[in-house]
Symmetry: C2
Subunit: 228 residues, 2 copies
DNA sequence: CGCCCATTTGACACCTGTCAAGCCTAGTGG
DNA sequence: CCACTAGGCTTGACAGGTGTCAAATGGGCG
């Protein structure tokens, strides 16, 4: 499917997150009204929709409300790599603020809903303090998460850790919105290695296939530690 | 050497970064006076000095001014891992703000100078907006950097990328403040693999040993791409 | 139906981790 | 000054894990 841009959906007035029932998840708690938490709420977009593109001038930050967004980076030598998979509550594009341009492309993986933060255009007009504080907390948490990556773990454990984390954040029953190849790119593994790792996990009853693409994860973290 | 704590050095009055000649590097530009950029400047500490400890209650954020600080994390299964190596300009400990406790231990690797940010104690009294903005920019940049990691690269390329990045930030002649074993922990490689990778790079004339521990890196990134 | 792509499986080379041993340097104490 | 030690560094042998290549299978969609 050819990726389509998200731009045509943006003709809305800003909404104050204070009146949004889902603000709890986005901001890790309630937000006070009229303190700068203004967003444009997007309609649900189809899988493959492009939120922004690597190299585009930074415009604003997005938050994932539902679904899943993948971040793709094309490195200097031309190889494409999946940098991260963003789930509800995750910030997207904040790195572009510092650099002036987005360092990666964001594409919806499966249907997704997003909010686009209202971002001041003028240079001195930075976002208000209350918003900055939440953004900083969230970004710091994401930085911490990304450091806690799957360094040095064998392939099976890496895949198990990825699936466990994914399941924890989406519910125990999950329908993976990305291909094995993309999981491999994200984890630094070959596609075939991911397939074999998933087979091992299924044989260990850590994963159960119900129907075709629906998985069930049962205490993968515990199994992982016990079985090493 | 037994790690000593940094606490005894903290009996200083806060300094405004606006009057500091090194603020340029810390904040990526000049900072306006009296806008909340207050720090306690630490005297240079010896290698092995502990800045804060994993599990300690969050107190404040530090910035590396000179030298090098390593972040250690002891995971749930007891294994120790080097999470990151922080160089001048890097923020340390911001993750503790969100979590309430520091998620890793920070220890000086080689002599280091640090500044401790003046941090409000009371909950509503968050840092001022100008400071928050810079912190957010820096944290976002660090997040972006950490995502650009060495995923999937072969060992030689990973070590080359690490050394190149280190050299870029410290100057072309470098004296590594950490052991091969620690580099391995940081990159997710075995100590012996790091040694062999360094030997390969030396044979390729990417690295040159001058004296005993002094290296010279010559266009490792270019070599790396060309030689794959 | 026929094509395209994701998934899966097998064979095989080689990269990397593990185990073991020895060397080198700095620091320590006699 | 020298022996001694501890820890970092290096090397070798070897097995196992992982990437690569190749091919078959299956599902979705025109």
């Amino acid at each position: 499917m050819r990726p389509t841009s998200i731009d045509h959906i943006l003709h809305r007035q800003p909404t104050d997150c204070a009146v949004c029932p889902e603000a709890q998840r986005c901001w890790d708690g309630a937000v006070p009204p009229a303190s700068g938490f203004l967003v444009k709420r997007h309609a649900e977009v189809a899988s493959g929709t492009r939120v922004f593109c690597q190299g585009d001038r930074f415009a604003s930050v997005h938050i994932v409300v539902s679904g899943c967004v993948k971040l793709l980076e094309v490195s200097a030598d031309g190889r494409e790599r999946i940098v991260d998979l963003c789930l509800p509550g995750d910030l997207i594009g904040i790195a572009g603020w510092t650099h002036g341009r987005y360092p990666y492309t964001a594409i919806a993986a499966g249907r997704a809903r997003l909010c686009q933060l209202h971002w001041p255009r003028s240079r001195p007009g930075a976002p208000p303090a209350a918003l900055l504080e939440r953004l900083l907390r969230k970004t710091a948490a994401q930085l911490d998460d990304s450091r806690r990556a799957w360094h040095g773990l064998p392939a099976v454990d890496r895949v198990a850790a990825f699936l466990t984390r994914f399941a924890e954040r989406t519910g125990s029953s999950l329908d993976l919105p990305i291909t094995r190849s993309e999981i491999g790119s994200l984890l630094g593994l070959a596609e075939e290695t991911v397939v074999r790792a998933i087979r091992v996990l299924r044989e260990r009853d850590v994963l159960r296939f119900e129907g075709k693409r629906v998985f069930h994860v049962a205490g993968a973290a515990a199994q992982c530690g016990a079985a090493r």
